[in-house]
Every structure is written in structure tokens, then in C-alpha cells.
């Protein structure tokens, strides 16, 4: 089944379920303006997946800044293709789940570039402030937005120290079934949760490696034998704004 028809099948199912439940007395209010208010009693897709999550794991990324080259944006493109968002020439409102950042030391002139995405904080401020609980952290450390209960208040965007989140400002087309998005909701890097759950690596990590840079390492921070843990144990690594004490799942080497 193609992505689109999968999506439709899913929407159809939610709709059927909803109607069933509506019949059984779920709150549905029709306002004079024609706006329908409805409660979504159904646990959303993301929540169902949560049941399969192994809480002993903590997924993370290690980004070796020295291996990241300035003119490369393979990780950004890979993410955009994988998850169906794109830059549309309006950087103020277009979604960007991952972006290349350039920093320059004004004294030495030394420059570095590297990707920044949701840092998958262990103590995520976005989750703390979200009024509905749409922002949530899976047991394995991946921070996600449940698009079915996000009301689009953008408080999480105010709270995130890394500007990791985007608000969907326009109606969308051509969505990917594994990465549901919706106008009026907030989104950010999912660490390619759909791939991770089937045992693959995030798209950015795979592409960076196949392009020969290998600047991104994905793995389980809780497993002492994983490559990422070994590297973090051996080399000096950093968290962006470590002073906030959020214990990010994304770490940087040579930054």
C-alpha cells in the first residue's frame, strides 16, 4: 500500500471509531460558528507504540563536529525526505526538524558547523509545559508530540532552549504515514522512531555514514557496550547548554 492510502486507511479507521464512540455518548458540541469540538478518547498511535518500548534503553546521538563539513547537508535532506517536511523558501515559518548551525568565535575567527535537532532531553521542558500532555517522552528517551492531542498552543516552542520545534503554519499535502503531521500542530525530530522501532538507525545517521562522513553515531546510551557509550566514555563530549541540566540525549564531540 502506498503511503497516501495507508494514511487514508488510518484516518478512515479513526473516523469510524470516533463515530462509534460518538454514538456512545462522547462529548461532541457543535458551536453556532460551525466549529465542531470533539474529545478524542482514543489513545493515539504514538501511545500504542509506547507499549513496545524497552525502558532499559535510552536512545541518543553523538555528533562529531570535526567530521561534519560545512557544505554538506546530507542529514538535513535525508530527514526531509524521510519525514516529508520541506523548506519552501520561507525560513521564518517552514518546518525544520534538523538544521545545520554555523558558529564562529568572534575572537579567533574559528568556525564550526554541525546539525542541531531536538536534543531528546531526559528532563524535557517542552513536556513539562505542555498543557495536554501531547508532548511526551517515551520510556526509551525519545521525545515526541502526539499529533492527536496537540492543541497547537506553542507553549513547548516557548520552552525549548534549542529552537528544535516547528509549528505547521499551512495545510499539508503528501504526508508520510509513518510520520503524521498536521496543520496547527507542533512537530520536531522523532529520532526516526518508526525506523528505530524496527531496528534501523535514523535516516540522518544512515545518510551521513553512506556519504562517507560518519559524523553521526546512533545508539543506546544505557548500554555500556554500545559504540556511542564507549565513545562518550573515552572522549570529551558536550551537551549544548549543559548549564540547564536537561541531560540531553544528543551529545557533541570536538565542539
Amino acid at each position: 500500500m502506498s503511503d497516501v492510502s495507508l494514511k487514508e486507511a488510518y484516518i478512515d479507521k479513526t473516523r469510524r471509531d470516533f463515530l462509534k464512540k460518538a454514538g456512545a455518548g462522547v462529548t461532541t458540541l457543535a458551536l453556532a460558528s460551525g466549529v465542531t469540538l470533539m474529545a478524542y478518547p482514543e489513545p493515539a498511535l504514538a501511545r500504542k507504540q509506547e507499549e513496545m518500548v524497552d525502558p532499559s534503553q535510552r536512545w541518543g546521538l553523538l555528533i562529531d563536529v570535526n567530521k561534519c563539513t560545512e557544505d554538506c547537508d546530507a542529514c538535513v535532506t535525508a530527514c526531509s525526505v524521510e519525514n516529508g517536511w520541506k523548506l519552501d523558501g520561507n525560513p521564518a515559518v517552514d518546518a525544520q526538524w534538523i538544521r545545520k548551525l554555523k558558529i564562529k568565535n568572534p575572537r579567533s575567527g574559528h568556525e564550526q558547523t554541525f546539525p542541531v535537532m531536538c536534543q531528546h532531553c531526559a528532563k524535557p521542558p517542552c513536556v513539562d509545559v505542555c498543557p495536554t500532555g501531547a508532548s511526551f517522552k517515551r520510556a526509551d528517551g525519545i521525545v515526541l508530540v502526539d499529533k492527536h492531542i496537540c492543541i497547537g498552543c506553542r507553549y513547548c516552542m516557548m520552552a525549548c532552549p534549542y529552537k528544535a520545534r516547528s509549528f505547521v503554519h499551512e495545510p499539508l499535502e503528501e504526508q508520510k504515514s509513518h510520520a503524521p503531521r498536521g496543520k496547527g500542530t507542533v512537530e520536531s525530530c522523532t529520532l526516526c522512531v518508526h525506523r528505530v522501532d524496527r531496528g534501523d538507525k535514523p535516516a540522518c545517521v544512515e545518510k551521513c555514514a553512506s556519504d562517507g562522513h560518519g559524523a553521526l553515531i546512533f545508539g543506546d546510551l544505557n548500554d555500556d557496550n554500545s559504540e556511542i557509550s564507549k565513545r562518550i566514555a573515552t572522549y570529551a563530549t558536550k551537551q549544548i547548554r549543559a548549564d540547564l541540566g536537561l541531560d540531553t540525549g544528543v551529545r557533541y564531540q570536538n565542539l
Partner: protein, 406 residues
């Protein structure tokens, strides 16, 4: 002295009255149209972006919510602090408080990315979220002020007036603390992260709320031929002045504190001395128009025959209040997040760049629609219930006031 009986009455209807309703209706219709327009096209048609995520609607919403709790001032002074002259006005104060809150919440909810999920917002709580707590605080405020109004208007419930008044008083302090904390708890934002936000918001609420109350009661009195006593207006005006002075005081403390904290120094420079729209709004809008001028208006000697200076001061305080909230809300976001202190940062996502925000017409329409909703509720309530005494002259409110005027 025998206790005077106060008789309350609904406000009547007349042509002037219908033109007010028509005007408010037009603003509400414009707000509704703006809502449907944004709902259809997405927030792309507003000036808000991924950097300035809260804009004009939030300025209006937060103004109204903050003013709501302050509008309850008069009722609290009457019942909690036992000031006789204020008691006859306390019903109006309660109604205005509820109306302002309703208007503010309407704007807040209609600006959501998914306004169709309002029920989710009210039924699914994340108890760690200060935002969710605010929703509880708002609903509670409505219930408590509603009950407070009821015991005031129903017969034979006099003994509950005081406890209900105290409950409403405490609740509204919590409400404003909660609203201030929405910003105070944002550790990531250099502009907001300060505990001083809570007392600042309380002072703002007292001052803005009093300003709204004075204007509404004065106008209603005028329109229904029961003019508000001049001495009473001055008394409320000076009280408003004290609150406005408190706002200036907390503002000074906040900015001085921030200037000395290395982490906040950059954003302070930007807001206070950046030569941008925010620094202009701060110095001219908030400090001069919304602070110094109204203080001068209410605290310089007057001969007491007219209270139009108080009216002007109230108007200026409201304008200054909008300027202040704009600087806090939009200015705080426009300044780029500091992820790498001391480094120059750039990206395709406007990192390290001061965010630009050009508010759009629908945003203003939505915000003004909220104000109109608040006013319309007030008008309907004063039509339906006996809220305002038939006589609100100085002599009727408090014989001492009238004596003073002579």
C-alpha cells in the same frame, strides 16, 4: 447613622444603547471572520512564525486575563477590607472581572493551532504544566466570582458575602501569579526567566483592572444618567495610581536585576537600549504614556470639580499596558535564543537573528473581538441583572465623600 438602603437596577434601553450593541457586534463579527480565516489558511496568514510563536492575540488575551483579576479590586476592597463606599460597586466589579476573563480566554483559545480541540484542552491535563494549572485557575475564578455575585444579589445570604469575598480575593491573586508564571518558568528564554514576573503581573493586574473598571463604570453611569461621583472617581483614580507606581517599581527591579545577571544582560540591552520598536514601546509606551503621565495626572493637586483627568489616566494606563505586554511577549521572543554564549551563530532557521514580527490584521481583529466580547457580556449582564445602584453619586456611595467635596 441609619444605614442607607441601596437600590440596584438594570440599565435601560435606548438608541444610544443599541448603537453600542451594534458597534460591539461589528467587532465580534470581525473577530469571528478573522478566526475562520486563520483556521482555514493556517497561521501562515498571521505575522507569527517559528520564532515569534506568540503575537498580538496573546498580547490581547493576556491583557484581558490580567485585567480581569484586577477588575475584582473594588469588590475585594468593599468586602475584604470593609470600605463602605466601594460596596455598592462590587457587583459591577465581579461582572466585569468575569467578562474580561471570558474575552481573554476566547482569544487565547481561538488562536490555538487546533481550536477544534478545545475540549482536549479542558479535559486532558498534564499537571506539571503551569498552562494546565491556569486553565483550572480560570475555571475556578469564574465559579468563585459567580458564586460571590450570587450571594450578593440573593436575599438572606449576607453572612456569606465576606467569606466569598475573601475566597475570590485569594483566588485572583493565585490566578495572576499563575499567568505571570507562564513566562517566569521559561528557563530557556533569557528575557523571561525571573521570579519577579509573578509580583510584576499582580501589580499589572491591579493597575490595568482598576483602569478598565473606572472607564466602564464611568461610561455606564454617564450613559444611564446616574453619574459616578467625582470624589469617588478620584479616590479610585489615586488607587489606580498607586498600582501603576507599583508596576513601575517592579519593572525597574526586574530590569536592573537582569542587567546585572550576565546571562540576561544581552537581552536587556536589546529591550532597553536597542533603538528598536521594543525599546521605543518600553520607554515611550510603557514608562511615559502608561506610567509617568498617568501618575502625574492623578497625583498632582486638583480642585475636584471634574474627574476627566482620571479618565484620561485610565485610558493611558491601558495603552501603556498593551505596550508593556507587547514588549514582554513579542520582544522577549524576538531576541534570539542563546545556545552558544559568546559565539556568532547562523543557520537556515534564523538562529542568532533577531526575529521579525509584522502583526497582521486578522490578529488585531481577533484581539479586539475579545475586548468586544468582554464588553458585550458586561452590557448584557447589566441589562439582565440588577448590578449598578440607581444612584452612584458621592452622596449615595458615602456621605463622607460628599462632605469632602464641599
Amino acid at each position: 447613622m441609619a444605614k442607607q438602603r441601596i437600590t440596584y437596577s438594570q440599565i435601560g434601553t435606548g438608541t444610544g444603547f443599541y448603537s453600542v450593541l451594534a458597534l460591539l457586534g461589528a467587532f465580534i463579527a470581525a473577530g469571528a471572520a478573522a478566526f475562520l480565516y486563520v483556521e482555514h489558511h493556517g497561521h501562515i496568514v498571521t505575522g507569527m512564525t517559528n520564532q515569534i510563536v506568540w503575537g498580538i492575540p496573546h498580547v490581547f488575551a493576556i491583557f484581558l486575563i490580567v485585567a480581569a483579576s484586577g477588575a475584582l479590586n473594588v469588590a475585594s476592597i468593599g468586602s475584604v477590607f470593609n470600605k463602605t463606599a466601594y460596596k455598592p460597586l462590587s457587583r459591577m466589579s465581579g461582572v466585569l472581572a468575569m467578562a474580561l476573563l471570558a474575552g481573554g480566554l476566547a482569544v487565547l483559545l481561538l488562536d490555538l493551532g487546533r481550536p477544534d480541540r478545545m475540549i482536549v484542552a479542558i479535559t486532558t491535563y498534564n499537571f506539571k504544566s503551569i498552562f494546565a494549572w491556569n486553565i483550572i485557575l480560570y475555571s475556578g475564578f469564574m465559579a468563585i466570582v459567580g458564586a460571590y455575585l450570587y450571594v450578593q444579589m440573593a436575599k438572606g445570604l449576607d453572612k456569606y458575602k465576606k467569606p466569598m469575598g475573601i475566597a475570590a480575593f485569594i483566588w485572583r491573586l493565585a490566578l495572576t501569579t499563575g499567568t505571570g508564571s507562564i513566562f517566569g518558568w521559561l528557563v530557556a528564554r533569557q528575557g523571561y526567566d525571573a521570579a519577579i514576573m509573578a509580583p510584576l503581573f499582580i501589580a499589572m493586574s491591579l493597575s490595568f483592572g482598576m483602569a478598565c473598571f473606572i472607564l466602564v463604570v464611568k461610561y455606564t453611569g454617564k450613559a444611564t444618567e446616574r453619574p459616578l461621583g467625582t470624589q469617588m472617581t478620584w479616590r479610585m483614580g489615586r488607587l489606580m495610581g498607586v498600582m501603576a507606581a507599583a508596576v513601575l517599581y517592579f519593572t525597574t527591579v526586574r530590569h536592573l536585576g537582569n542587567l546585572y545577571a550576565a546571562e540576561h544582560a544581552d537581552v536587556e540591552q536589546f529591550i532597553l537600549f536597542g533603538g528598536n520598536v521594543y525599546s521605543k514601546l518600553f520607554w515611550i509606551g510603557q514608562v511615559l504614556i502608561g506610567g509617568i503621565v498617568p501618575l502625574a495626572l492623578v497625583f498632582t493637586p486638583h480642585r475636584g470639580e471634574s474627574s476627566s483627568r482620571v479618565t484620561l489616566a485610565a485610558l493611558l494606563i491601558i495603552l501603556g499596558g498593551f505596550a508593556q505586554l507587547y514588549v514582554i511577549i513579542v520582544g522577549g521572543q524576538a531576541f534570539p535564543l542563546i545556545m552558544f554564549p559568546g559565539m556568532e551563530v547562523s543557520s537556515s532557521f534564523q538562529d542568532g537573528v533577531v526575529g521579525t514580527y509584522v502583526p497582521s490584521l486578522p490578529e488585531f481583529a481577533l484581539g479586539l473581538g475579545g475586548v468586544a466580547i468582554a464588553m458585550l457580556i458586561t452590557v448584557f449582564a447589566t441589562m439582565t441583572f440588577k448590578l449598578l445602584p440607581k444612584d452612584i453619586s458621592d452622596a449615595a456611595l458615602d456621605p463622607h465623600l460628599a462632605a469632602k467635596a464641599k
